[in-house]
């Protein structure tokens, strides 16, 4: 039996002439916290929409491998897609009762999940009277109904204050410790770096990276980064632009950062510059944050 909980093959979505998602192939391993990353409009929500049946794929397929019958598979998945969709003039309890009825979950579970998100005292209040943060917490309560094995969270910290964001982060890590598989879509890279084990980066509907977060940030990346300094920085910059293995040069708080091809070591950089008559006074390998890596990846291949 496959160790993946979801397998996606060639998933494509077109809106007229616009290809919102293009030939996506990926898998989500069981028990992973899987980050779906990308700038706004990169196709994250469209991808999730297809996986959750609200949009029809133009081509390609997906398979939730934990259940043979795909018709009712979504009842086993706790989902918060974009924003909580509840009925304003119904109470939190009644809204969750509707969700529980659809999922086939006993209504006794409603107070359990309301307690987890700290809304049990406001269960009878109308959803329309809730603050943005409370609405988001009610959305998370719905996700937890029926104790599903898989959770899909699309921007779950939107609208939350710093304490709320930290609580959601803790909740995600707690849920993973319970053996849940979590798909977390976000454009907050810090959030993904802190909680995710695997990730996929999308840009304009195209997969840019798929693998573990650790690999992306360190060994698995497609290029190397060096902090570099010389006495004559202008001459250094001019020389670097003429070196074949240099992919990009940018400034990082006063220091030059060069991005080179993956197999170029620090000594090779030093030798190449020395051959051009430039002697460095600083050269060190540099591991960029996920955010810097992400910006580099999307900037270079756009």
């Amino acid at each position: 039996m496959s160790n993946n909980i979801l397998e996606v093959s060639g998933l494509t979505k077109q809106f007229g002439s616009l290809t919102a998602v293009n030939q996506l192939d990926f898998e989500i391993p069981q028990g992973a916290i899987f980050g779906l990353l990308g700038p706004n409009g990169s196709g994250k929500s469209t991808t999730l929409g297809m996986l959750l049946g609200v949009l029809s794929p133009s081509s390609g397929s997906y398979n939730w491998t934990f259940q043979e019958n795909q018709t009712h598979v979504r009842r086993q998945i706790g989902t918060l897609l974009e924003q909580p969709n509840f009925i304003k003039n119904l109470s939190a309890y009644d809204n969750l009762l509707i969700c529980a009825t659809i999922k086939g979950v006993d209504k006794s579970d409603i107070y359990r999940v309301l307690k987890i998100v700290g809304l049990d005292q406001r269960a009878k209040s109308k959803f329309g009277t809730y603050s943005t943060g409370m609405k988001m917490r009610l959305g998370i309560a719905n996700v937890l109904l029926g104790d599903p094995k898989i959770l899909i969270l699309d921007e779950p910290t939107n609208g939350l204050d710093p304490i709320g964001i930290a609580e959601v982060r803790q909740l995600i890590l707690f849920l993973q410790s319970q053996g849940k598989t979590i798909l977390l879509a976000s454009h907050l890279l810090d959030e993904v770096e802190k909680v995710c084990s695997h990730m996929m980066i999308l840009e304009r509907g195209v997969k840019k990276y798929f693998g573990s977060v650790q690999n992306f940030v360190s060994g698995g990346r497609t290029s190397m980064f060096y902090h570099i300094q010389a006495d004559d920085m202008i001459q250094l910059a001019n020389t670097l632009t003429n070196l074949d293995f240099v992919i990009s040069i940018h400034d990082d708080e006063g220091k030059n950062v060069i991005e080179t091809q993956k197999d170029i070591s620090a000594s090779e950089v030093n030798r190449a510059l020395a051959e051009q008559g430039i002697y460095l006074n600083h050269l060190s390998e540099y591991t960029p944050s996920l955010e810097q890596q992400f910006i580099n990846l999307t900037k270079n291949k756009a």
Partner: protein, 282 residues
């Protein structure tokens, strides 16, 4: 499953101000005057001229009540449109699918609502008629037995008009625009059928009911259109009387044709609504 789907929409409707408001309006503003007319007004007096408990008594009272009630279905249509558009505005349709409801189940839940409202309206009309008849000492059992064809006609007529309302609510997300489209269509169909029948009927045909088009009485041309087909299940007592007086006996075939047309349109609207629900990207 049906119980589950019923519960989901019941939870939405029971706290709805639109549902409560229109229902109260339906009962108080319209039904009570009918009851009052039946018991004290001219129509009531005419019907009471037939001896109570005679077949004519029941026939008259059901024809009248069925004819008057069918126009109230438009009020019920407003409830359906309001709730369908609210499902879009609250993103409930989308959320239900995300939570695991299939699109077929979503369609069924809407059909259950339409059937429940239509059955409720038929039951309400029965209660009104029973009250009026009971007021004059009629047998409630005979009242019910004689009223079955009218109740069925009223039920299907309402179900059809509500299916049209659901269609309007499915294709337009804005409540006001959807209601406007629904009412505008009703008006357009009325003008179209009146124009057609006026042009197709020979001079004096309307008075004598002599004009025939496609085997239909010319002023029954509206049966070929959806609203007309649904409302045609409950022809006016005035029309029935005039048709008989004009020498056109209302044959069994005429009623069969009316039922066929209404059922065809009912089926068409169900299929179209199902197709929209299963194909719509939400």
């Amino acid at each position: 499953m049906i119980q589950k789907l019923f519960l989901i929409d019941f939870l939405k409707y029971r706290r709805s101000r639109a549902f409560l408001g229109i229902s109260i309006l339906y009962i108080v503003i319209i039904a009570f005057p009918i009851l009052s007319t039946l018991t004290t007004g001219q129509i009531g007096k005419e019907m009471l001229d037939s001896s109570v408990n005679s077949p004519e008594f029941y026939n008259n009272i059901w024809q009248t009540i069925g004819y008057l009630f069918k126009f109230m279905s438009f009020m019920l249509a407003l409830i359906v449109i309001t709730h369908q558009t609210a499902d879009y505005q609250n993103n409930s349709f989308r959320q239900h699918i995300i939570d695991g409801m299939t699109r077929w189940e979503y369609y069924l839940s809407k059909l259950i609502v339409l059937v429940t409202i239509s059955a409720g309206a038929a039951l309400f009309s029965y209660l009104i008629v029973s009250l009026a008849a009971g007021f004059h000492g009629a047998s409630v059992f005979k009242m019910f037995a004689s009223g079955i064809p009218f109740l069925l006609g009223y039920f299907v007529s309402t179900l059809g008009l509500l299916s049209m309302a659901l269609f309007a609510g499915l294709i337009i997300k804005n409540t006001g625009l959807a209601i406007a489209l629904y009412l505008a269509y009703m008006l357009v169909e009325l003008v179209l059928t009146l124009t057609l029948s006026a042009n197709l009927m020979p001079v004096g045909g309307f008075a004598t009911n002599q004009g025939k088009v496609l085997g239909l009485n010319a002023f029954d041309i509206d049966l070929l259109f959806p609203k007309g087909a649904f409302l045609g299940l409950l022809p006016s007592p005035y029309w029935l009387q005039r048709a008989i007086n004009g020498g056109n006996d209302i044959s069994k075939n005429d009623y069969v044709f009316r039922w066929i047309m209404a059922l065809i349109y009912l089926g068409v609207f169900q299929l179209v609504n199902l197709r929209i629900i299963t194909r719509k990207e939400i």
